[in-house]
């Protein structure tokens, strides 16, 4: 807020900005190449949201940015080779467009790792200088490069590059504007930071949120490049100022001929989203999507109304006060602008925050759970005389959000036993049944905002050792050991910052091959308590 006000008070700068005659979104044929890559090679840790950021940018440009779905290429976790091929294809199409006399605008967005002057797409590399030169010579009239990666400010190191809260493009006409604009999420010596709470990188999140309408300071229901950048800059710096990595400063550079600000998104005609009337209380309203991520933010001032464009769907609304939350739901109908009625929000404690990870910005962490399991085979005769239903105690060690956000890798160990008996031609043979299992699970977790609940589902491979010892000493002990693949699904309910309740179901396949080959299945139901380190 403070920074934004500082920008607002920078009268001459804003005056120039608002005086711009924006080039309308419909004035050009627009193309985009959007790439997100969570992997950066052997010496880097995987990013959690780079691909997700790319998806969000893709969504906002195709929904509001005038980029037709056929004119955009979305590359998720693809190599440098794929990137160059996609860029070449788009350049050819842009050149063809221009030959038909149309003006062309090209947006290149990248979210991922960067280091030592190179973008890192997995194990492959793209030299920043080469990409910048390629972008500078691209056949489009207007070329916009947006780089959300560590040290990405290196791309703007050139004449006119600035680390500043806003830039202005003088307006004297829009039809002949041509040139290059480069935006980076961080300075050349800074890391670009991600946030669990917003489910993305700070810069891309605010860029998208701004493009959806919250950056529309001119209230003309259009967001220009200048507005979007100024908004993203202010919010990124503000939100990262207190972080351990320190404040993150976006940068820009441009080389333009002609004068016209660029309208990136236009929602004047697209009346689908949320409208916050002027009388609603001031503050920041967070619009949370079904996955628990903040889809957009609305920075409501005391005297003005606000509007943002969002796709139809059900959203949660959160407004944070000093001592409590105000939360509620809003349904955006297709093609409808839905008014947010703040009075229909309800008071709630901070523990009910619907935002994913709101209680802890945990990132990758470890978890240990302890619980009880009931296991039973589906087949009745098998259950009655071969492998009886068994209770077990077990513990599971999980690596959460390490490989990728929402991905869980777990190792579990459980042991239990029961008494059973087998009837062989009238001879009842009582026995003591024992079981030991060790498994590994790979699961995805979706943190919904039904309180602090998350659901997860995945696959599991377990080694299982079952044995029985007969009461009759003349009958030898028996055992069976094998691997059993299965699926797992469950619910996790967070009780506090460190403790959570777990409910889990598993279904496994077991090939029994002693007497004959028999395909068997068994289920497990577990309940337990988890402790997050």
């Amino acid at each position: 807020m403070t920074l934004w006000r500082a920008i607002v008070r920078a009268g001459p700068l804003l005056a120039l900005l608002l005086a711009a005659s924006p080039a309308r979104a419909a004035a050009q044929h627009r193309f985009a190449l959007i790439a997100g890559n969570d992997q950066g090679g052997a010496d880097t840790r995987p990013l959690r949201f780079a691909s997700e950021d790319a998806r969000k940018v893709h969504a906002v440009l195709t929904q509001l940015g005038g980029v037709a779905p056929g004119d955009v290429t979305l590359l998720l976790n693809q190599s440098a080779g794929e990137f160059w091929r996609a860029l070449g294809t788009l350049e050819a199409r842009i050149a063809e467009t221009r030959q038909h006399g149309e003006r062309a605008l090209f947006v290149l967005y990248y979210s991922g790792h960067a280091k030592d002057g190179e973008l890192r797409l997995g194990e492959s590399r793209i030299p920043l200088d080469a990409l910048k030169a390629r972008l500078a010579s691209a056949p489009a009239d207007i070329r916009i490069g947006v780089f959300d990666s560590c040290h990405s400010g290196a791309v703007t190191r050139t004449k006119g590059a600035r680390r500043a809260p806003a830039f202005e493009i003088q307006a004297a006409g829009s039809e002949d504007t041509r040139g290059l604009v480069l935006l980076s999420s961080a300075s050349a010596d800074e890391d670009a930071q991600e946030s669990d709470e917003i489910g993305g990188s700070y810069f891309s999140h605010y860029l998208v949120s701004g493009l959806r309408g919250d950056a529309d300071r001119s209230r003309d229901r259009r967001v220009t490049l200048s507005e979007a950048y100024a908004y993203a800059y202010a919010r990124t710096v503000a939100d990262t100022a207190e972080s351990a990595a320190g404040a993150q400063h976006p940068t820009f550079s441009y080389d333009f001929q002609g004068n016209a600000d660029l309208v990136l998104t236009d929602f004047a005609s697209r009346r689908e989203g949320i409208y916050v009337p002027g009388f609603a209380p001031a503050g920041i309203y967070y619009i949370v999507d079904g996955n628990g991520f903040i889809a957009a933010e609305i920075q409501k001032s005391a005297d003005g109304d606000r509007q943002i464009a969002l796709p139809a769907g059900r959203y949660h609304v959160r407004r944070r006060l000093a001592d409590r939350l105000r939360i509620g739901e809003i349904q955006i109908a297709s093609g409808q602008l839905t008014t947010l009625d703040e009075t229909r929000l309800r008071d709630a404690p901070f523990s009910d925050d619907p935002v994913k990870g709101a209680l802890r910005d945990e990132g990758a962490h470890l978890s240990l759970s302890l619980g009880g399991t009931m296991q039973s085979f589906f087949d009745g005769p098998t259950r009655d005389s071969l492998f009886p239903s068994t209770g077990m105690l077990g513990l599971e060690f999980e690596v959460r959000d390490f490989f990728r956000h929402g991905v869980i890798w777990g190792l579990d160990l459980a042991s239990g036993g029961t008494h059973g008996q087998v009837d062989r031609y009238g001879t009842m043979l009582p026995f003591r049944f024992s079981e030991l299992t060790a498994g590994t699970t790979l699961a995805g977790e979706w943190r919904f905002h039904f309180g602090d609940m998350a659901v997860f589902a995945g696959v599991r491979l377990a080694a299982i050792l079952m044995s029985r010892k007969f009461d009759d000493p003349t009958v030898p002990d028996q055992f069976f050991a094998t691997f059993t693949p299965g699926v797992v699904a469950g619910v996790r309910y967070r009780l506090s910052r460190s403790f959570a309740l777990l409910g889990r179901g598993r279904v496994h396949y077991l090939l029994y091959n002693v007497d004959e080959n028999r395909s068997l299945g068994y289920w497990e139901l577990s309940a337990g308590v988890a402790y997050d380190f």
Partner: protein, 310 residues
């Protein structure tokens, strides 16, 4: 990115690992193991009182006969105990095979146990089994049966009627050096039957020795009642020290308390014309001390005939 090929390889790997299940966890194996006689199924289980220096002579003879019988049972059951204590080497429907294993005594030979199961009815189980020998490296047609058994359950898998034949002379003729075992040196064959499905539980053992042996044959019959009382007969046919053929019979009976009676008879006719002559009788009390004794030799009696319980 995970390709379809990687997924296919992973699934194949999981499948292959799954096929690698191992163990002996089997209900059906139990049928085979329960069908084999345990020592307790065949042995004389009567708990006779401890002998004393003044125990009745025929009481001591009865104990010796029981001990000899039980020792033979131990040796016989030892041949098939391996089956009860271990998982079969191969399973083929209603057949289980243990081995072949190299003979510990003669490593050029190998031994296997084969069991076949057939279901008489939903409640009755029948098993046939063989302990077989052959020289290592020879084909399947050369297996020689050393022991042949059969068992039919009655009431439960564990109770029924059994039949075991030890074919010592067959393996002797096949070249196996069975005569190195002093206990088997003169044996032609041995036949045991048992019925433990209902009282009286019975066991018979018929021993046929080679014609060259001094003892031609012997047979035991044993019956045990639920109250602990029992009866055992031992028939013996052979040659006296002077080379005269002789048959003898000892019949012993006892109550659950241990008190009992034993009679010794023999055919003393030159050509064994089945004329049984009483040679002696002992009756004894719970303390195994004779209460009545008769001996043909010297025509002597001691004690009171009325003290005999049988």
């Amino acid at each position: 990115m995970i390709s379809r090929r990687m997924v296919a390889i992973a699934l194949a790997l999981i499948g292959a690992i799954g096929l690698g299940g191992c163990g002996n966890y089997s209900n059906e194996d139990l049928d085979f193991q329960l069908a084999l006689p345990d020592q307790s199924d065949i042995a004389v289980k009567v708990q006779l009182s401890a002998s004393r220096t003044d125990s009745a002579e025929y009481y001591l003879a009865t104990r010796n006969a029981i001990n000899t019988f039980n020792a033979m049972v131990v040796d016989l059951v030892a041949l098939i105990d391996h089956v009860r204590g271990n998982s079969p080497t191969s399973r083929q429907g209603n057949r289980r095979i243990w081995g072949p294993f190299p003979s510990e005594i003669y490593p050029t030979w190998e031994i296997r146990v084969v069991m076949d199961r057939s279901t008489v009815s939903s409640a009755l189980l029948h098993m046939d089994y063989w302990v077989q020998l052959r020289l290592i490296g020879q084909d399947d047609s050369t297996w020689v049966s050393f022991l042949v058994g059969a068992y039919t359950s009655q009431g439960s898998a564990r109770t029924g009627q059994g039949d075991i034949r030890l074919l010592a002379n067959d393996v002797r003729l096949a070249g196996y050096r069975i005569d190195d075992d002093p206990g088997l040196a003169n044996l032609d064959n041995l036949h045991v039957t048992y019925n433990n499905a209902a009282y009286p539980m019975t066991v018979t053992m018929d021993i046929v020795n080679l014609p060259t042996a001094t003892t031609k044959s012997g047979s035991y019959t044993y019956a045990q009642n639920q109250d602990g009382s029992g009866r055992m007969t031992f028939d013996w046919q052979g040659l006296t020290d002077t080379g005269v053929p002789i048959t003898a019979n000892m019949t012993s009976q006892w109550l659950g308390s241990g008190a009992g009676r034993s009679d010794l008879t023999a055919d003393l006719t030159p050509n064994l014309t089945n004329q049984s002559t009483p040679l002696g009788t002992d009756c004894w009390g719970v303390d195994t001390v004779a209460t009545y004794t008769y001996r043909r030799q010297g025509d002597t009696t001691t004690g009171f005939p009325d003290s005999c319980l049988f």
